[in-house]
Symmetry: C2
Subunit: 136 residues, 2 copies
């Protein structure tokens, strides 16, 4: 049985479920930052995905990346499966800007997380759902 890891649940807000992955928005407003959580039990590393799920994850990475590119016109996309802190496979999809607080380094651990204004976050989630073709 799949259940989102409590630390991931704590650090994100759910956006929608795609065919394989739950799409989450990071609560850190410093960066437009989605997290994909494949809804499978017991996955830890990207290489744990079977062929069909691997293809699905790649497609969902591409869809989420394209949505962030269309919404934000970033200078670069970062895609990473690290999982040193949370032992459940999840994939970060982060829109990066040369003016963002961690550029050109990776985002993790550079500056304290910034909070979204609630209304701005809800509006963003609605836009993300619409862009991903999901109603909720």
């Amino acid at each position: 049985m799949y259940a989102l890891h409590p630390q991931l649940a704590d650090e994100t807000v759910p956006v929608c479920d795609l065919d394989l992955c739950r799409v989450l928005l990071s609560k850190d407003a410093n960066y437009p930052w989605l997290v994909l959580s494949p809804r499978r039990d017991g996955l830890r590393d990207l290489h744990d995905l079977n062929d069909a799920d691997g293809i699905a994850v790649l497609d969902e990475i591409r869809r989420c990346s394209q949505v962030l590119v269309d919404l934000y016109r970033p200078d670069k996309m970062n895609v990473a499966a690290l999982g040193n802190q949370v032992p459940q496979l999840h994939i970060h999809i982060i829109a990066r800007f040369t003016a963002d607080p961690a550029w050109p380094g990776p985002v993790w651990g550079r500056v304290p997380a910034a909070a979204y204004d609630d209304a701005a976050r809800d509006a963003l989630i609605s836009r993300l759902r619409a862009a991903l073709g999901q109603n909720g």
Copy 2:
């Protein structure tokens, strides 16, 4: 025409060519660290890969990850396409240990790179080539 970006060429040693990607070994001996460079011109982001190349990259990520798992028995694999510094698509595949100098953070920018002893590096490259089923 594909040509490896000069900064990637400078920071790595070639291991072998798989069907799509050139496999490179990072010169930083702090971590067992491979880099995959898809041999296609003009790619910048993971979402720039077409479907067939995406499937090939995923397969080659899995092969390289498994080789590092088999050789090193790491605590975690990190897989990332960042590209904030080098504007040519490349995928990092890094074996991580709870005792490594950057754990649990990402490896980039934490500690100065450590150099391989030449003989140790050459022996490792031979082992990697054999494990990847390549002679050179």
